[in-house]
């Protein structure tokens, strides 16, 4: 008995529960409700262009905001003492252990028209903000939920950068900013890339955040798919087609993000 056979049960398992389900999505996407092959599910998809655009746009905005907010946090953390780093990482991870529905729900209480934020503004004598049930509320919800997914990978890469590189760069006359620009930032790109993956994919496909903070007014791809399977318009064939197209676009997007990252790394290496 050789150890490589140990994995056979799991390979069978993957065949049934990982590969076959994707096969089913493909089959459903290309059939009618009566089981005949068709392309009409894809032909019907042009109607959903606004939903596709909104999903990718909001996910993109959220990802960018997560980078802008999260990168500095990771960078600042990496320069703290070891004890502080450890404590801070724990503090950043801790909210993630609380169910994300609850965390999103908390934002409902804050952003509502009669919610805490507006009460606070009224207390200061400022005009109320109408945020709940708008795309802004959805973006806030996504940034809040996914920010740790950006901070942690970036941090874990920055913290491993060899400190002697900084010294070398400084010896060669680089100031702090150019050390950051020429050494730290390029070397931290792999972390940023995995951060982008971990933020963008769940953001583009969310339906919970839109339903809680969007009030049924901000439809994204996740809502559209959910609606076809569990919601008001039962059409799993169309739902599969939408899911397939979404996966395809995400894969293409990720491919280009990775390509961009690699070419950048090479440029640094050269």
């Amino acid at each position: 008995m050789k150890p490589k056979y140990f994995s056979i049960p799991y390979i069978v398992w993957m065949g049934i529960f990982v590969v076959a389900p994707i096969f089913f999505v493909v089959v459903y996407a290309f059939t009618t409700a009566d089981g005949y092959p068709t392309l009409q599910n894809f032909a019907a998809m042009s109607r959903f262009t606004p939903v596709f655009i909104r999903s990718f746009l909001l996910a993109f905005i959220s990802t960018v905001i997560c980078i802008l907010i999260g990168y500095p946090v990771a960078y600042i953390l990496s320069r703290e003492g070891k004890r502080v780093q450890r404590l801070m990482i724990m503090l950043i991870v801790l909210p993630m252990w609380m169910n994300f529905l609850l965390r999103t729900y908390a934002w409902m209480s804050i952003l509502e028209n009669t919610g805490l934020l507006n009460r606070f503004l009224a207390f200061l004598g400022l005009p109320a903000l109408n945020i709940i049930n708008t795309p802004t509320a959805v973006v806030i919800g996504m940034v809040y939920n996914f920010l740790p997914f950006m901070i942690l990978p970036v941090y874990s890469v920055i913290v491993k950068i060899d400190r002697s590189l900084f010294e070398a760069a400084q010896d060669l006359g680089a100031n702090n900013f150019s050390v950051f620009r020429k050494v730290v930032f390029p070397m931290s790109l792999p972390g940023v890339l995995s951060g982008i993956m971990m933020v963008f994919v769940p953001a583009v496909s969310t339906f919970v955040i839109t339903q809680l903070l969007g009030g049924g007014m901000v439809m994204m791809l996740g809502d559209l798919i959910e609606m076809q399977f569990l919601g008001t318009a039962y059409n799993p064939q169309l739902g599969s087609a939408i899911a397939l197209v979404m996966m395809f676009i995400v894969i293409v997007f990720m491919y280009f993000v990775n390509r961009f990252g690699q070419s950048d790394e090479k440029a640094v290496g050269a």
């Binding site: 008995m1 050789k2 150890p3 490589k4 140990f6 994995s7 049960p9 799991y10 390979i11 398992w13 993957m14 049934i16 529960f17 990982v18 389900p21 089913f24 999505v25 500095p72 946090v73 600042i76 320069r79 003492g81 070891k82 780093q85 801070m88 503090l91 950043i92 801790l94 909210p95 252990w97 609380m98 169910n99 994300f100 529905l101 609850l102 965390r103 729900y105 908390a106 409902m108 209480s109 804050i110 009460r119 809040y144 920010l147 740790p148 400190r163 900084f166 010294e167 702090n176 993956m197 994919v201 769940p202 583009v204 496909s205 919970v208 809680l212 399977f229 569990l230 979404m246 996966m247």
Partner: protein, 282 residues
């Protein structure tokens, strides 16, 4: 491996940097503290403080659907984490001893559930279960929920064990074999103890993922079975009750307590192991 000790050239962050991090932490925690505060509010209002009460905690424990959901979540998490850990350990050892030509594509397939959007995993599994259900005459329910959880847990277990296997000294295994150990014996006596930290890590990850999952459960559990996250979602779709806040508070405090315990244990262990030890993989 360089450690992260601050070298002389890298300055510690200044007041600006620190207040920025403090602000981000405030952003992360403010909503949670608001939830906790209003779990003690005497009326249903989520923004006006009207007085202190513990009623929501009482009604939370009397709410049979929430408690049922809680037990379901716990049972699914325990079973799926254990099964996934066992299956994942065998799978990882198997993958490790394969040639790269086979290992690489299999690892890619293994990674699919991790890389894919949850909703896509949920939808695809639900289509599989529905189709199989029509042939084998079963319906979505506890069984399909459990299968789905095992499926999305195994990849994380495999991934947390693989680095340990790479660190494993193959000579150890060979030596054991030379001394007359069979492969199975070598597996139990040499490999498993060596990769134990990875296995435990995988078990913990699987357990927490399973407890926290909403999207995949939502698509694969059907209408009869509810996990706690599904129950929370249903509650937010209905008349909102501060029971949700009470539940959040309890969960938050539990996690906080767990993390503190784990942290204290870890730092004690680290002190015991002397400083030179490799700490690459936590």
């Amino acid at each position: 491996m360089k450690n992260t000790a601050v070298s002389t050239v890298v300055k510690k962050p200044g007041i600006l940097g620190r207040s920025y991090t403090a602000f981000i932490l405030f952003f992360l925690y403010a909503p949670i503290f608001i939830l906790i505060t209003f779990s003690f509010n005497s009326t249903r209002s989520r923004s006006v403080w009207t007085g202190f009460t513990l009623d929501w905690y009482r009604s939370l424990f009397l709410d049979s659907s929430i408690m049922n959901a809680f037990y379901t979540t716990l049972i699914v998490a325990v079973i799926s984490a254990i099964v996934a850990t066992i299956a994942g350990t065998f799978a990882a050892v198997g993958f490790h001893s394969m040639r790269r030509r086979w290992r690489t594509p299999l690892m890619h397939i293994n990674n699919i559930p991790m890389m894919n959007a949850d909703i896509a995993t949920g939808v695809s599994l639900s289509l599989l279960f529905i189709s199989l259900g029509m042939v084998l005459r079963f319906r979505l329910g506890f069984g399909t929920l459990l299968l789905a959880h095992i499926t999305f847990n195994i990849p994380y277990v495999v991934l947390s064990i693989m680095p340990k296997l790479r660190q494993l000294d193959n000579n150890l295994v060979d030596a054991a074999c030379d001394l007359g150990c069979t492969w199975i014996k070598a597996f139990w006596k040499v490999i498993v103890p060596e990769i134990m930290p990875g296995i435990i890590n995988g078990l913990i990850i699987a357990f927490t993922l399973s407890i926290d999952d909403f999207v995949i459960s939502y698509f694969t559990a059907g209408g009869n079975v509810m996990t706690l996250p599904m129950q929370i979602f249903a509650m937010t779709r209905r008349r909102i009750s501060p029971e949700i806040n009470a539940l959040s508070t309890i969960l938050f405090l539990t996690v906080l307590a767990l993390l503190i315990v784990i942290n204290i244990r870890e730092s004690k262990q680290e002190e015991k192991l002397h400083r030179g030890e490799d700490s690459r993989d936590r």
